[in-house]
Subunit: 138 residues, 3 copies
Amino acid sequence: MHKASLQVETSGRGLYEITGDLERIVAESKIDDGICVVFLRHTSASLLIQENADPSVQQDFLAFFARLVPDGDSLFTHRAEGPDDMAAHLRCALTHTSEVVPVGDGALCLGTWQGLYLFEHRIQPHRRRVEIRVFGES
Amino acid sequence: MHKASLQVETSGRGLYEITGDLERIVAESKIDDGICVVFLRHTSASLLIQENADPSVQQDFLAFFARLVPDGDSLFTHRAEGPDDMAAHLRCALTHTSEVVPVGDGALCLGTWQGLYLFEHRIQPHRRRVEIRVFGES
Amino acid sequence: MHKASLQVETSGRGLYEITGDLERIVAESKIDDGICVVFLRHTSASLLIQENADPSVQQDFLAFFARLVPDGDSLFTHRAEGPDDMAAHLRCALTHTSEVVPVGDGALCLGTWQGLYLFEHRIQPHRRRVEIRVFGES
């Protein structure tokens, strides 16, 4: 087993690709076949495996979630940290906190168009911590 | 590898924290570094890692899902067990059936504000089974 | 560790059960207790663990997602592959790309009503690749 962690400095709401960091950690692990577990230690940001080619996909993601879970929705009573607080928790719940990606031939077995992203849901910049475990055979 | 299971008696729709039970199972496993896999054996309840501090977050979760996937929606044809039956399946699909939490220093590597919850989507009380596997090094 | 992959030929939008294929792979692995990691290498199809008994559940899933994330929504700018392109990415993000199912007594520890499905979100048929890892003790 190989253990690592990442710090990601976000500059506000948006998608931040971490595929390259994860590939580096898998290479360091010397594990050829197995799994890479990715876990985000926050409740107002999340993980997303999505298309990494066309930037318009990322814009549409932001537009869709802005409509589905609006900031400052009158439904929300939890507003401790502002109008994007509860919206961020809900967007996190609708996407993912943990992902498990298979490892093969010493690399992540992602599809051609797949990238792994940290999805920041807060408007202000945040420092986010990602915890990683790689298991398998060298 | 360490294997365990939990039974959770729910008293109807709502969030039930199981973080303490999982911490106990990780301690029993004697595994210091690794992963804890959590799996819920049901299709009308789910798992959620969310903010464990302010109870208003949980109320807002219930209100949001009540609006997004209303009980007895005229769209639904599957009503075998009542108006909350299909709504429960959909709320389950939009959240999570499996979660993987890293283990470090013999404990779950959760963020400061993260708790792991069983999210009961049915109105009536149910007995729910959670299956757990802990992998890693002692 | 046991490693396998599946190819699933979809005939368009819908749910395709792969529980039987996974059970076969777990049996081949000779692993009695552990976990089965399932990963889909695509961003316009996803994984779903859902009720496997009543076919109306699957129809209601399709109807609900058609309303929640409509094809050709005027919000979408990413239309490279047609009106179902961006809708497929979003439906994928709202469901799951990876699932981890515990293994016990040499079989998947699914609940009585749980089946594992590949959820095809594109209208045209596609060839989908599922990557599998089984870990544990024989």
